[in-house]
Symmetry: C2
Subunit: 220 residues, 2 copies
């Protein structure tokens, strides 16, 4: 019985890693599609999100079965409850990658982002892809240095997000209202994606430290 | 022991209702502040959000203690796991009410929303307040008719949200890029608030039906 239980716990951990890798692919492809107005790739991202949702449901059902059948306590219980929370964050990251792909499809064959902000959004995409890869790495390694790196990358994302709003409000901004709205929403999607990455990083830090309260890995 | 357990479960249910009532007050006050550019009321909403966050943490800790100490199964387990998920949705609704208040404070003494969309946002606010009140009612009554009403109200919110983007993209729209961005973000906050209300409605419907999969209460 204990062997089965430990296998099931390990399975939940592996499924989280699997989902996090799909999320990293999703944001990578969504960003590429977004930058190059590649509607086919955007379509792929939109279609692939259903797989993330399916795996999240499967993971949640497995976790709940473990709670019902094994009555885990202490660190095993923390692991299961944290997994339910992390799967929700990962699922949401998948949704946000899909939103970025949907915006790409909506404006095709045009670019969503006008020239004055193209570099900013390239940097946004790079940071989000890095965060997503580090989330997958963190879930595999449980190395809190990686959690701290995610928090730091998120600070850069927050700066870019604030910078976008300054640019749009500045006298030099000459884009249409509609383009301005697209820019604001896209900025919000990239920023929320990174927030959820930090949220996963915090939950891993609880697990590693055996606490429900986070170790101070930095950030708000 | 069973008596204590049942009391603890009931306590979790009561705390969810309490949080949902604070969320309803938050969106009501945030909407009033937003419509009337009332910076003091906006400030109250921002300050009050810490209380919602605190209560969510307390509820989650209680729920996890119950899992650890009582090893609930069947409907009790469903109730505890669903409560963890619903508390996350309610906390997020509180955040969104705070974001609406923060936008109010940022633009004070101006209105965030320009005249052509004032009626639309008044309707947005009405729908979100109704949804929040119905969420509190649903958590108390477990009446799935209320869950269905929430889903229907959310469809109206989605229509308003789509309408805002059409208005901004239309030839008649003559507002600045910065105002357009504020409008887009505010619309997104009201829309996400309603989505989380639907999410709570679905979770209550699982509980009532004894299923992890939702009864069809309508909506996507």
């Amino acid at each position: 019985m204990r062997k089965v239980f430990q296998d099931e716990l390990a399975q939940v951990g592996e499924e989280l890693v699997e989902i996090s890798k799909l999320v990293a692919s999703a944001i990578e492809n969504a960003s590429t599609a977004f930058e190059s107005a590649d509607v086919d790739l955007a379509q792929d991202v939109i279609a692939a999100d259903a797989r993330i949702d399916f795996l999240q449901n499967a993971l949640d059902e497995r976790a709940i079965d473990i709670l019902a059948l094994q009555g885990p306590v202490a660190s095993d219980l923390r692991m299961i409850v944290s997994s339910l929370r992390m799967s929700a964050s990962l699922e949401r990251m998948g949704d946000l990658a899909r939103h970025i792909a949907q915006l790409t499809r909506l404006r095709y064959p045009s670019q969503v982002i006008p020239a004055p902000l193209a570099d900013t959004f390239r940097k946004f995409a790079e940071l989000d892809v890095q965060i997503a890869r580090k989330v997958a790495e963190l879930l595999e390694s449980r190395d809190l240095n990686v959690a701290r790196e995610i928090v730091k990358l998120n600070l850069e994302v927050d700066e870019l997000h604030a910078g976008v709003f300054k640019t749009v409000a500045s006298g030099e901004w000459a884009e249409s209202a509609s383009t301005s709205v697209d820019v604001a929403l896209a900025s919000r999607y990239f920023e929320r994606f990174a927030d959820h990455g930090v949220s996963v990083a915090r939950k891993v830090s609880y697990l590693v430290n055996g606490e429900w309260q986070p170790e101070d890995i930095g950030g708000a």
